[in-house]
Amino acid sequence: MKKGSGVSDEVNRRNRRTDQQTVDLLTATARDIHTRILARRKPDLKFPVRTLANVSYSERKGYLEIGRAKKVRTLSVNTVKTFAQTLRMMSLSKSLIETNDFATKRDAYYQSKNWGEVMFHEQPESDTVMDDIEALFSVHSINREQLRFIPDEHGGAVAGELVVLDPDLETGRLERIDCTRFGSGAYSIPSSVEQLSFETKASFVLAIETGGMFQRLQNHKFWKSANCILVSMGGVPTRATRRFIRRLADEMKIPVYAFVDCDPYGISNIYRTLKVGSGNAAHINQFFCVPQARFLGVTPQDIVDYKLPTHPLKEVDVKRAKDAIKNDPFFQQHKTWQKSMEQLLKMGVRAEQQALARWGLNYVIDEYLPAKLKARDRFLP
């Protein structure tokens, strides 16, 4: 118990520290505006330019990074309404932190109904302002969840050798969530994971594309034999899932292996997004990508090696693969990926994770994964 309260104090201290940094930054931004006004100068806000032209792949950091181009919004007659709304939204963020609460995009939209003339009339308007604030603060390495604006969708399922430490919103008491004790169920990643801390002795995280495969591995307690943490991504991972895996990998210093379908969607959308983020929201990649991730399978070579049943590539698959090879900075960075993609295109087929069931339902547990994990150096980057 003594040990538990020590951990609790530490986690709460850490969270308070982050919150304080966020509040400080909000205040500093507002103070800068206030000072400029009193100096009879027009205040402005600087946002990173969120176009693909301002996005590049950083080899050192291992993700798609937003460039340094900034767009300045000066307070003028034309911007006065948006400016007021942005400041109102920042004020809302500050009070959310101070009251230890949160708001979804929808919540924030309804909150604006108290703002008189500057209230939002449609949610897209408030979403835009929130996106602006997210971009504004991303420059200072503060993400939207830290501003207490959380996404509506929660994260994927988690099971295995992991204890999640989650402070109670009301009491601040730390809940210890043991992810080995969900039976055939699983822990569900919350919308915002900033307040969480972890304890684990697992040797890696296995990020799985489909719920079906996750369920098989969970029911047969694969995490026990492999000493790992299972995370179900359910297609392209949500912000919460990506941030959860990222923090787990960063703080527990454990590798992440991706296990997805062998098709251009699984590789260039799901895996690529998990690992290096997306080009459209490059300003948040610094928080959400998982540069540690490596590709366990299913690889194009696996299709050959394991004689997997396949389906022909669809037209959209071919287009996606060619586009990735030609335009995607991540694939351009990695020769091995280009070769694998070309191999896939040449074979003209795709194979799902569950295709391994051709050799028996638990072949994946008994043979495939153990064999793969013995040769981790052969994982694709």
Binding site: H34, K81, A84, L87, S91, E117
Partner: protein
Amino acid sequence: MAAKQREISVSEFFSKNRHLLGFDNPSKALLTTVREAVDNSLDACEEAGILPDLLVEIHRLAEDRFRVVVQDNGPGIVRQQIPKIFGRLLYGSKFHSLKQSRGQQGIGISAAGMYGVLTTGKPFVVISRTGKGRPAHHVELVMNTKKNQPDILRDEETAWEPEHGTRIEITLQGIYKKGRHSVDGYLRQIAIANPHARIAYRSPDPEDDLTVFERVADELPPEPLEIKPHPHGVELGMLLKMLKETTYRDVFTFLQKEFSRVSPRVAGELLAEAAIPVRARSAQIEAHAAERLHQALGKVKIMAPPTNCISPIGEDLLLRALQQEVRADFYATVTRPPSVYRGNPFQVEVGIAYGGDLSSEDLVTLYRYANRVPLQYQQSSCAITKAVLNVDWKSYQIAQSRGALPSGPAVLIVHVASVWVPFTSESKEAVAHYPEILKEIRLALQEAGRRVSLHIGRTRRDREEGKKRTYIQKYIPHIGAALQEILKLSDPERDKTVAVLIDVLERSRSGGE
């Protein structure tokens, strides 16, 4: 034989060509009758140097039977002329003259009278007085189409109050309608193009008050000058006729005297080109030679005709007339310098009224005029319409769909004045598509468009200026409130911030941001 053919042709001409003359349906017949009478009255007043004062009345006698009364304060008509002017088709002094005037063929008013007699059997009534101390005459006529002459039913002196003037009454079958193609609409358009005329109108609708279109100008337009035909505009048939009828014996003199801009040198060149001896006698030029002469007229370089013979409404008067008859925010009028098509001088004027009470949903209202006469039918085949369609109105901030008239709160007026307006048909409803005329209309429209565009831009800026001002007043307090929340400012601190910010923005705005 020839005489007989002529008699038949006149009555048949009318019954077979009603549509050419504007009597093809009952509602149009009513309008055409008013038009012809009003045109005649205005022309008569102007020629006599009298400011026109017209009374137009339409009395409903039965559902489809009306009596049209048009009375003017013109010089009146001497008794002997009355039957000729009103009782015979194609009697008139205008047909061969090259002078800007409303009517051109002299067919109109007698055709109207004939239509009345044909449809109702009622005679055509004329009361006229030529001056103080002279008697007024009351004459009733029916047209004898066989003889192309009127039969006089009644002819007597009468007591009539006006010192001088003419009153005509035609009873006819017709349909009375309101709207653009109506008598009401026509008279409004006439009033715009004739700012020197005062017109009182009593509609057949007992609900309506007497409508008076007051004059805005107390001066008559300068009288248009009559000019000789220019060689470039003469057709072969016309040339033959002129050769035959001329009083100048030798063709060398004939060319100089009967045409404008033909000097002795030009006449010599023309005859040399046509291989006709200078001393040849006009009446003896045979057909082949005349044809060669006609070709020469087109080939030899000849100075453009004089253009001072046109009498436009004028930018100022058109503006004032528009302001009186159309309620709008902005008006612009353009009178182009005179130009020439096929040897005929002409001049184009454009007026536009924009905004105000005009509907912004509909297409703009286009009023077409030729020699101050509104053209109410055949809009789509008129050169004026084509010119309006061909202007890119979007560049003047006026909406326009492809191939359509522009749309917006505007009335557009186009006036073509000429010694000889080229119409597409006898009913004189559409101007023919001469490139020179199209070009002049386009230039005038563009000039008017530029001015309207400036106005539209100005009002838009004013509106945005107003919007910006309210923006500042409305939204800046929220910036103050948000800063107060985040920075925990006191109320005076907050108010000071708001005041400073409003000042800063107002300054930058007036400083031409």
